[in-house]
């Protein structure tokens, strides 16, 4: 008897954030306790709520006395809020989950986290945990999405080399390539930075992007929207979880795991030092990595987990098996956040991507 999940009160509102030039949207959703309330769990995350709903429902089923408050925000805005709370030693959330793992590493490196203290931590592979404070919860490949109609004849590019060749050989893709705005999106920047570190294809790739007037967007969903309706033919470095769950429903789009290498991102979660309900936060993390949690994450959200991901993705790349490169949760990610490094990287990106003004 599964009761459909209807939050007793859903409070959604938009906040215009004064800091920074970017408009930030912070959405707060509250799931009341199912029984007499004995505690509250505040989760701050950049993950779309729809993706997290099943997990929250399972959590409340097991812990009916705990209400869950879910704060959803963009990665940079969330990072700003959490950082300032950490600096002021104030409370912001009991659990912070973000796909912007470099920022998560920086927060943990800055001493904002506390030891999770759960056996699930040691079950994770080395790359998906750091200091026992930060753990990877998902296993999301960076994929290319394509408009099936546009590639009906020759098939989509299977690797970055295919994409580069395609961009060089024809003008067909001009204005039809969509990707993250890496200045805006933490995940986009992270993927781009890892691409640059991973292989020499990066230079040629952004050169091609520039020549073909790449269009950039804040979020995966916008990129996928464009590809679906044909305004773009191909979306580069889109989060696999979003892409796959859209592709399940939308026959117009297809998903490619690049065969040269496929970056894999594990959304990382940590319990802040100032958490009020660290016990509930730990229970939530344990649930996410439990067999039940894995079933949920492996389900229609396609978030997968570091434990189940490699097996779930095996064989999905067609005839040629992609080389999965999980991005390890280590302080090496801090380099990408270094002010000087970031400024250089972005300036190189801009120079290549933005068409020179005539």
């Amino acid at each position: 008897m599964t009761r459909s999940l209807i939050p007793l009160a859903v409070i959604s509102f938009l906040l215009l954030q004064a800091s920074g030039s970017a408009e930030a949207a912070e959405t707060i959703t509250r799931f009341e306790a199912r029984a007499a309330q004995s505690g509250e769990l505040v989760i701050a995350s950049v993950t779309d709520l729809d993706f997290m709903r099943p997990l929250i429902a399972a959590f409340q089923e097991l812990n009916p006395g705990i209400s869950v408050t879910y704060i959803e925000d963009t990665s940079n805005s969330l990072d700003a809020s959490v950082s300032s709370a950490c600096a002021d030693r104030g409370f912001f959330a009991d659990l912070v989950i973000s796909s912007s793992i470099a920022q998560q590493v920086r927060l943990v490196n800055g001493g904002c986290a506390r030891e999770i203290g759960s056996p699930v931590v040691s079950n994770l592979p080395d790359w998906a945990r750091w200091r026992g404070e930060l753990i990877g919860l998902t296993y999301e490949p960076a994929v290319m999405v394509y408009n099936k109609a546009a590639f009906s004849e020759n098939g989509p590019p299977r690797s970055r080399f295919d994409l580069i060749d395609l961009m060089r050989q024809s003008g067909d893709l001009n204005g039809r390539i969509a990707t993250y705005d890496i200045e805006e999106s933490g995940v986009g920047y992270l993927f781009a930075f890892q691409d640059s570190a991973e292989a020499s294809t990066w230079g040629r790739l952004i050169e091609g992007f520039g020549r073909n007037s790449v269009a950039t967007f804040c979020c995966s969903s916008e990129v996928i929207d464009r590809v679906a309706d044909g305004r773009a033919y191909i979306g580069y470095n889109v989060l696999g979880s979003y892409a796959q769950s859209r592709a399940d429903k939308d026959p117009r789009i297809g998903v490619v795991l690049p065969t040269d290498y496929t970056l894999v991102l594990a959304r990382a979660g940590y319990i802040p030092r100032e958490a009020r309900n660290a016990v509930a936060a730990r229970l939530f993390l344990e649930l996410a990595l439990s067999p039940r949690g894995r079933t949920i994450l492996d389900g229609e959200t396609h978030l997968l987990t570091p434990l189940s991901g490699p097996a779930a993705l095996a064989g999905s790349g067609g005839e040629e098996e992609p080389a999965f490169r999980p991005i390890p949760l280590t302080p090496a990610l801090l380099v990408s956040l270094d002010r000087a490094k970031r400024a250089q990287f972005l300036s190189q990106w801009r120079k290549s991507v933005t068409p020179p003004t005539p």
Partner: protein, 475 residues
């Protein structure tokens, strides 16, 4: 500690094995504790050194990638630098890069600087705290000498200490395991060695326990040098015991035999006397009974004297005595027991010192006199002198013919009595011989035709002793 000392002193049986075990354990524990302390310090140093190299490497890599492009300082932090630091996989990393004017170019602006500013001639490693944790930091300078930018760029890289302390504790843990194992093995081997080394003692113990109570022969067990003295002492003790037991058995046998005959005779004569009516014959019998009684009395006296002398031969402590005094006392004794009229003393003017037992020598001298009175011809002279070859002599001289050759052969034997003389017990010269024996002396006889017969003991003279107060000698 007090309990340990107490247990050492009073532990089970106060056994050597117990003491050795305790002491060995104590020593090994102290040694192990020392090693662990050393390992602690070594572990810290080794871990610090190993990870300081990582820090230095990372700082060098960063410093190398600082350049000036179009008049701007460009800091391109290499991924490999952080990859290097990530080898300490669980540690937080901090960095700060400061320009020539002291402005922070990138990194954590609040990261503390070393107390002494790093000089050009090398990197400076220092300990500090940041973001609530102790960290190890390196400060390194790179000099830029470009047209636009001139001066030192300071690179600070820091790392928390988790990996260091893990490595240190691992080193220490291994050292501790090693020390504990080695200590245990050493102790076990030491105990085994001790067991083997002490086994002769147990062998002796078993030999003593297994012995027949009547068996007083010396131990023939081979013994280690350390307990040779002990075994020798036991053997000496047993030999003395053996002699004592033997002497006692001999005495009892002799006494029984010697006493029985004259007492039987005495009883027979007494019975004869009771039935005798003739006063003349009765008188004769009475005289015989009296002679017999004197004989028994002398025999008893001599038996006891012999027993005493034999006993003293084993137990008396020797002392410096003057033979003249012995002679005087023996003469007085003989006179007191009667029948000693006509004894002369012939003494030299100077003391004749010997080492010996006064009682035994006196008994010997008395027996010499008694013997001469009994068997020789008066007057009897007790003479003390120093012989030509430097030995002391105490001898009894009488005017008789002395002994026959056969008697001289048997001199010193017990009960070599003169069958014709009922008063002779035949023990006198046996006592003398015994005394001479345990004084390293000998019996000396001299038959001087026409001038009588002399028998005595010749003894070694005592070592010349310092006369007077020893304190004067020292002064």
């Amino acid at each position: 500690m007090t309990s340990l000392t107490a247990r050492l002193a009073t532990g089970p049986g106060r056994s050597i094995a117990w003491r050795l075990t305790l002491l060995l354990t104590l020593l090994l524990t102290i040694a192990a504790a020392g090693t662990v302390v050393a390992a602690l310090s070594y572990g810290q140093t080794a871990a610090t050194r190993a990870f300081d190299r990582l820090l230095t490497g990372a700082a060098l890599q960063i410093a190398e990638r600082i350049s000036v492009v179009e008049g701007e300082t460009v800091i391109d932090i290499p991924l490999s630098a952080f990859g290097l630091l990530s080898l300490a996989s669980e540690d937080r990393i901090f960095y700060r890069i400061i320009g020539p004017e002291g402005q922070t170019l990138t990194g954590d602006e609040t990261f503390p600087l070393p107390e002494v500013s790093a000089r050009n001639d090398g990197p400076l490693l220092y300990d500090t705290a940041f973001s609530g944790e102790a960290v190890r930091a390196i400060s390194m300078q790179r000099f830029l000498a470009e047209r636009a930018v001139r001066g030192p760029i300071t690179v600070i890289v820091a790392q928390t200490l988790r990996a260091r302390s893990e490595l240190a504790s691992e080193i220490v843990a291994r050292a501790v395991i090693g020390v504990v194992v080695a200590g245990g093995v050493t102790l076990a081997l030491a105990l085994l060695a001790m067991h083997l080394a002490l086994s002769p003692l147990r062998r002796i113990e078993r030999a003593i326990l297994a012995r027949d109570p009547k068996d007083l022969t010396p131990f023939s067990t081979t013994t280690p040098r350390e307990v040779e003295a002990l075994v020798a002492a036991i053997n000496r003790f047993m030999a003395r015991l053996d002699r004592r037991v033997g002497a006692m058995q001999d005495f009892v046998a002799d006494a029984a035999h010697q006493m029985r005959t004259p007492i039987t005779a005495l009883r027979a004569q007494t019975e004869l006397a009771m039935e005798e009516d003739d006063p003349h014959k009765l008188k004769t019998l009475q005289r015989r009974i009296r002679d017999r009684a004197i004989g028994v009395s002398r025999l008893t006296d001599q038996l006891l004297s012999h027993a005493l002398v034999t006993h003293r031969a084993d137990s008396a402590t020797l002392e410096q005595i003057d033979l003249r005094r012995v002679a005087v006392e023996a003469e007085r004794e003989a006179r007191r027991t009667g029948g000693a009229e006509g004894i002369e003393l012939d003494l030299p003017a100077d003391p004749v010192m010997v080492e010996g037992d006064a009682f035994s020598l006196r008994e010997a001298a008395r027996n010499l006199v008694t013997n001469a009175l009994a068997h020789g011809k008066r007057p009897v002279r007790l003479r003390v002198s120093v012989t030509g070859d430097g030995r002391a002599l105490i001898a009894a001289h009488d005017q008789g013919d002395g002994m026959s050759a056969a008697q001289l052969d048997r001199i010193g034997e017990r009960f070599a009595r003169d069958a014709s003389n009922p008063q002779s017990a035949g023990l006198g010269l046996a006592i003398v011989a015994e005394v001479a024996g345990f004084h390293q002396g000998s019996i000396r006889t001299a038959t001087m035709p026409g001038e009588g017969f002399e028998v005595g003991i010749e003894l070694p003279l005592a070592e010349a002793l310092p006369t007077g107060n020893p304190g004067e000698d020292a002064a």
